[in-house]
Point group: C2
Chain length 156, copies 2
DNA sequence: GCAATATGATTGTCTCAGCAACAATGTCAG
DNA sequence: CTGACATTGTTGCTGAGACAATCATATTGC
């Protein structure tokens, strides 16, 4: 996530809008805080960043454990070149393989290897625990649905 | 913000936890989407990223329009070295100045120049409009308080 | 008063993401 | 069929942040 933090209208205005912005500030700060925790834990316990983890998850979640590079990039919220380098690394580590697409010779499939499956299997409890600890457990169950609906309104 | 996107437990598990994670996914996606919009608009209209904008805001919001480098770094949710480079850029652009601290000769004050104030004055309507358009206007007023409280629970 | 330690800021180096340009391939109008 | 255009993935370049090491200065303990 890009580095984003505060926002404020103060400066020279008395800013009647300031109070409204509290929710915006909370949004930014909470996101920065939670994702940092998760990344820290994932690196500490598995030497893997959220980006790499996300690739494994995306591939594991899909029928043949493979995705076209562009499709993957989109799901990762990453540029195509970003996906290329990321897969370069994971391929070097043996967790993903590139397989040429037969029906479209421009294309490559990024496919999860058994080693990649294993890596994900080892890492996901850490991540899931992190999400529970730093996110779910702090939002009372009754509010989660409400929170989700609020946040989804922000999507296109 | 670092690139963060999806999360999923699927893979080989039937994942009873999946439904709970919807709120988590919404959190990630909404943040990515909104901050990208804001950054895009700020760059398009003022050639300035969120990081730079944030510096101006932080300095403008404070008594003498100046902050110690370390203090600034903390408010920006950035490393100290990150703040150094960021201020390097803004100083080169004439919007911030470094002033030695008299009471502690190790320290530097990052101070907003009149040009910086002007720059902020020009940019903040864009940013505030963006926040209204992409965030506030999508969360009904009655829900904002609730959302803020939920999100603040995630903070330390 | 002086050595040891802590702190503020900067710098070097590494990593990683985006953009623009490119080659290879696919698609489609005529 | 063919030539214009689009798409896929990769690459070189550049920008930007994190970390560790360093430098200068403050503070603390003796």
């Amino acid at each position: 996530m890009q580095q984003v933090s505060e926002t404020d209208t103060s400066a020279q205005q008395p800013s009647p809008a300031d109070a409204q912005l509290d929710s915006w500030r909370a949004f930014l700060r909470s996101h920065a805080h939670v994702t940092r925790q998760l990344e820290r834990e994932l690196i500490a316990e598995h030497g893997m960043g959220l980006a790499e983890y996300d690739v494994l998850v995306q591939l594991a979640a899909v029928p043949d454990r493979q995705l076209r590079m562009s499709d993957l990039a989109e799901r990762l919220l990453l540029s195509r070149s970003g996906a290329t380098r990321l897969i370069d690394r994971l391929e070097a580590a043996g967790q993903v393989e590139r397989v040429s697409c037969e029906s479209d010779r421009r294309g490559q499939w990024a496919t999860l290897t058994p080693a990649g499956v294993e890596r994900l299997r080892a890492a996901w409890p850490t991540h899931l625990r992190g999400i529970r600890e730093h996110f779910l457990s702090r939002i009372p169950p009754g509010e989660r649905e409400h929170l989700r609906r609020s946040l989804e309104r922000l999507l296109p």
